[in-house]
């Protein structure tokens, strides 16, 4: 039902609008930068889009293979994944995640990891359903007064 392809600069309006709708915060400049860095960037960086047969962007995923971040050996990091709420539960998110994992495998990494807001049950459940479990790191925060 969904075709997967690498994102292109022309996807910026659709990606930016989808993210703004889901997060309530417009950040076109951020997504423009992400597209510049991750779409057609180095082979370790990936920005994939799922589109419907009529060419509508149904969702996207962004990730990169990085080594020695926080002392960890090379792993595929998922930085963002979004799927249009009207097109959810049809496999777009799973297809994007599996495709990104395939890209990571091609580069020789055997772990995929991400960071999730622990109150965001929807995205936590999604990653759990993909087989992800708690990783070896704990994220720590502190308010800077």
């Amino acid at each position: 039902m969904f075709a997967l392809r690498s994102a292109e600069p022309a996807d910026l309006p659709a990606i930016s609008a989808l993210d703004a709708r889901l997060t309530g915060e417009a950040k076109a400049a951020y997504w423009q930068g992400m597209l510049q860095q991750y779409a057609g960037g180095p082979p370790s960086r990936h920005f994939l889009v799922a589109e419907t047969p009529n060419g509508q962007v149904a969702g996207f995923i962004v990730g990169e293979v990085r080594a020695w971040e926080f002392g960890q050996p090379a792993a595929g990091w998922v930085f963002a994944i979004q799927v249009d709420p009207k097109l959810r539960l049809k496999g777009a998110g799973s297809a994007l995640f599996q495709a990104l994992c395939g890209k990571f495998r091609e580069q020789g990494v055997r772990r995929v990891r991400t960071l999730v807001d622990r109150k965001d049950n929807l995205i936590l459940s999604f990653f759990r359903a993909q087989g992800m479990t708690a990783g070896p790191s704990l994220q720590l925060d502190k308010d800077l007064q």
Binding site: R118, K119, N121, L124, S125, F127, R128, A129, G131, A134
Partner: protein, 139 residues
């Protein structure tokens, strides 16, 4: 994380019954499968039935079957039936002191992580992981 016995039995029973919602299992069969007390399990199943997760048949041969939604029900939904909710926990002696308060903040942090984990895992996901492990183990 330590779960009360009733919580563990509730998770065992729901997950076993949810494997095949068309299948009916008696309390004795479930108790034998997990090597647990049938008396205790019967009480747990009544709680699960009140929550609409299982339905019990009548009579000596009547058993239980799963009536919930595997994709929508999370491990936390079952845990919450048997464990006190975070806000309903009775205050422990010493909690009002500075040390007691600091300790409570650490324990609350652990509880929040545990709750987020339990809330993120649906029965569907859990059963898929179970069958993956079984398949891997049988190779």
């Amino acid at each position: 994380m330590k779960l009360q016995t009733a919580t563990r039995l509730g998770l065992y029973a729901v997950l076993e019954l949810a494997r095949d919602p068309d299948r009916t299992l008696s309390v004795a069969e479930l108790a034998e499968r997990f090597d647990v007390s049938a008396h205790h399990l019967a009480k747990v199943l009544r709680t699960l039935a009140s929550a609409g997760l299982v339905r019990g048949g009548r009579g000596a041969t009547g058993g239980y079957r799963f009536t919930g939604n595997r994709r929508r029900t999370t491990l936390m939904d079952i845990v919450a039936l048997f464990e006190p909710a975070p806000g309903q926990r009775a205050k422990e002696p010493g909690e009002d002191t500075d040390i007691g308060g600091a300790l409570q903040r650490v324990l609350s942090e652990i509880d929040e992580i545990a709750e987020a984990t339990l809330r993120s895992i649906s029965l569907e996901t859990m059963l898929r992981n179970t069958s993956t492990k079984s398949t891997a183990g049988s190779r």
